[in-house]
């Protein structure tokens, strides 16, 4: 067999040009497939890592995916809020370890503004229980101070001390609809996390109340701008409502009981969700697109394998004489079969190996950039089991594809005998 393998190798080397093209087709298709797969795994991992350490998220009754979307992903908006007394009630529950309220609804140049308490930075975790870290500056203390996510700082070119004017609602700032009389100052910039935190402007809950003084009717009171900052600071700025509450429990074991009790709360109707469950639910929606993408890339691999088949089939006629020579010197029809199957297998194997190399080099080059910019770690950049399986699968498919021309050559070599008809 090794004799045939070396023949197959020499035969391929003799047709370097066309073999190289086929090899490239296979390599690119494999690289595409693995790239999609790695991006997919990375995305899923990143997605699942958006929030951790929080056992329950409480908000007004809505769909669990919806609550997750607006409280964690800052997408869409809450249909109703939770009243402050209810927040206090929940925070005071004996099974609750900590409760962090958040208040959403304003934005700054396309980035969501979130009012919360300083506790948020202690309790909100992402990835494998990673803390939010300040890259620069400090947490907000004063009323009009803001801590911004990494993306906000990068895209708006903000540094410590940059002034910012929040706008009411979620649209772009246009004068008259904004809170331009209540400018904020950037006091802290968070390190990238690869989560929606990067796109969030964090201020205190009181700040949210403060900028809405004079907005009680839902629209801006013409007199609102006349209220001075000093006057506002003298007000009781305790919020009347919050958008959602992140909860940590004293004992994880009570999670289901606590959830049920909150869901069946006798006072204000509430809804509590388990983040990991809601994340899984949300992912199952995106999984369809993800699978479609994967299916497409598998088809691309199939095209690559078919190109191996094509290149061998087209060479078959001109190699008829070669087969007769091999037969004459003692090759059995099985040898002829093996020769062609091995050629296909070699191209498949080398192409897949090249593709794996290609994607890993690419990831090694691009990975650190992506990680630095977006905080997304392209995990599994080392050769993983998927690479091995892909290598084996592509080689196997190529061997199978090679069996078709091999069978044709096998039949011909029986029929041709020693005489070579041209």
């Amino acid at each position: 067999m090794s004799a045939i393998l070396s023949l197959a190798w020499k035969s391929l080397m003799n047709r370097k040009g066309s073999v190289l093209l086929t090899l490239l087709a296979v390599a690119l298709s494999v690289a595409l497939f693995l790239g999609v797969d790695k991006a997919r795994t990375g995305a899923r991992e990143g997605f699942g890592n958006t929030i951790s350490g929080t056992e329950l998220i409480v908000g007004a009754p809505t769909g669990s995916v919806n609550l997750l979307l607006y409280s964690v992903f800052r997408m869409g908006s809450a249909t109703a809020e939770v009243s402050w007394p209810t927040y206090q009630e929940i925070a005071a529950r004996p099974d609750v370890d900590w409760a962090v309220p958040i208040s959403l609804g304003d934005s700054h140049r396309g980035f969501r503004v979130m009012g919360t308490t300083p506790d948020y930075f202690d309790h909100y975790k992402y990835g494998r229980n990673q803390d939010l870290l300040l890259a620069q500056g400090e947490q907000f203390e004063d009323l009009f101070e803001a801590v911004i996510g990494a993306d906000v700082a990068r895209e708006l070119n903000y540094t410590l001390g940059s002034p910012m004017i929040l706008s009411h609602g979620l649209g772009q700032a246009d004068f008259g609809s904004g809170h331009e009389n209540r400018p904020f100052r950037v006091v802290g910039i968070l390190a990238p996390t690869g989560t929606p935190v990067d796109q969030t402007v964090h201020v205190s809950l009181e700040a949210i109340t403060a900028i809405h003084v004079g907005w009680e009717t839902g629209a801006k009171n013409p007199l609102a701008d006349n209220i001075t900052e000093e006057t506002i600071r003298s007000f009781d700025l305790t919020p009347k409502t919050v958008t959602a509450i992140f909860l940590g429990l004293k004992r994880r074991g009570t999670i289901l009981t606590t959830r049920r009790e909150i869901n069946t709360n006798r006072g204000e109707p509430l809804m509590a969700i388990i983040p990991s469950q809601a994340l899984a639910e949300l992912w199952s929606v995106t999984a369809i697109a993800e699978r479609a993408l994967l299916a497409v890339s598998i088809f691309v691999i199939a095209v690559g394998v078919v190109s191996i088949l094509t290149s061998i089939l087209t060479s078959l006629n001109e190699r008829r004489r070669e087969m007769s020579i091999l037969r004459a010197v003692g090759a059995r029809p099985g040898h002829i079969f093996a020769l062609l199957v091995l050629e296909a297998g070699l191209v498949g194997f080398l192409g897949a190996a090249l593709g794996i190399l290609l994607i890993h080099v690419l990831l090694a080059v691009v990975g650190p950039l992506v990680s630095a910019h977006y905080g997304i770690s392209l995990i599994g950049t080392g050769p993983g089991p998927t690479d091995i399986y892909t290598l084996l699968a592509v080689t196997g498919a190529a061997l199978l594809a090679g069996a078709i021309p091999a069978w044709m050559a096998f039949r011909r070599s029986l029929a041709d005998g020693l005489s070579i008809r041209l």
């Binding site: 004799a3 023949l7 020499k10 035969s11 080397m13 003799n14 047709r15 004489r321 070669e322 007769s324 020579i325 091999l326 037969r327 004459a328 010197v329 003692g330 090759a331 059995r332 029809p333 099985g334 040898h335 005998g417 020693l418 005489s419 070579i420």
Partner: protein
């Protein structure tokens, strides 16, 4: 005298549909004999060679090669017999394009441990020795692509391949038809000299009766084949 290396009796052969191509009452190739088989094109000589080489199966009759009855052998055993005991030279395009000159000569050794064992030294050295005997000594020639060789050079490489490992039978099917007269005579001389040296029986087939003088014995296929020449 020893047993004949090839003996045929009452051989009949027909392609799947149609009339007999061959009907041979008796044919013998003695050990070490250099036999000239004359046959016009279409006389069935390629078919006969295919049968002797074990690639085609006789319809009926006896074909013995080295004492083995071919029709009683399985295809794989016939392939083995050919690999171990037969060297074949074709009319032209004898060489595998992706192998070197030396690689082409040593090709039969890949399929026959027996012929490999018959070589005392290195395979490549043996190939070079044979090539040198056949007048191919230029080292630069040996490293060239086989497709860059002249037809005469290619045929000599093919002869070296047929002879390597000392097979008992060498079959040459019109090996000189693409050569000019000088090259042709020289080729036949070298081939039969080497065949004699290795004690191989040489079965040389050609339509050109004038070549018969180079050989021990001459047989006209048109005479032994009772089907007759149709072309």
């Amino acid at each position: 005298m020893a047993e004949p290396v090839v003996s045929i009796s009452d051989l009949r052969f027909a392609w799947t549909t149609g009339e007999d191509v061959l009907d041979i009452a008796a044919f013998r190739l003695e050990a070490g004999e250099r036999l000239f088989l004359r046959g016009a094109s279409g006389s069935g000589k390629s078919t006969l060679l295919g049968i002797i080489a074990g690639v085609l199966e006789a319809g009926s009759g006896q074909v013995n090669v080295l004492g083995q009855n071919l029709s009683s052998l399985k295809p794989a055993a016939r392939d083995r017999l050919r690999a171990d005991h037969l060297g074949v030279i074709f009319q032209m395009f004898n060489l595998v394009p992706y192998l070197s000159v030396v690689g082409n000569v040593t090709l039969p050794l890949r399929f026959s441990p027996q012929r490999r064992a018959a070589i005392s030294g290195e395979e490549d050295d043996e190939a070079r020795r044979l090539l040198a005997r056949l007048g191919l000594t230029d080292e630069t020639l040996l490293t060239r692509r086989v497709s860059d060789l002249s037809v005469g050079q290619q045929q000599r490489v093919a002869a070296a391949r047929a002879l390597i490992g000392g097979p008992e039978i060498v079959i040459a099917d019109e090996p000189t038809s693409a050569l000019d007269a000088d090259a042709r005579d020289r080729f036949i001389e070298l081939l039969s000299e080497e065949a004699r040296r290795t004690d191989a029986a040489l079965l040389f087939v050609s339509h050109d009766a004038s070549l018969a003088s180079h050989f021990d014995r001459s047989v006209d296929l048109g005479e032994i084949n009772r089907v007759g020449v149709t072309a």
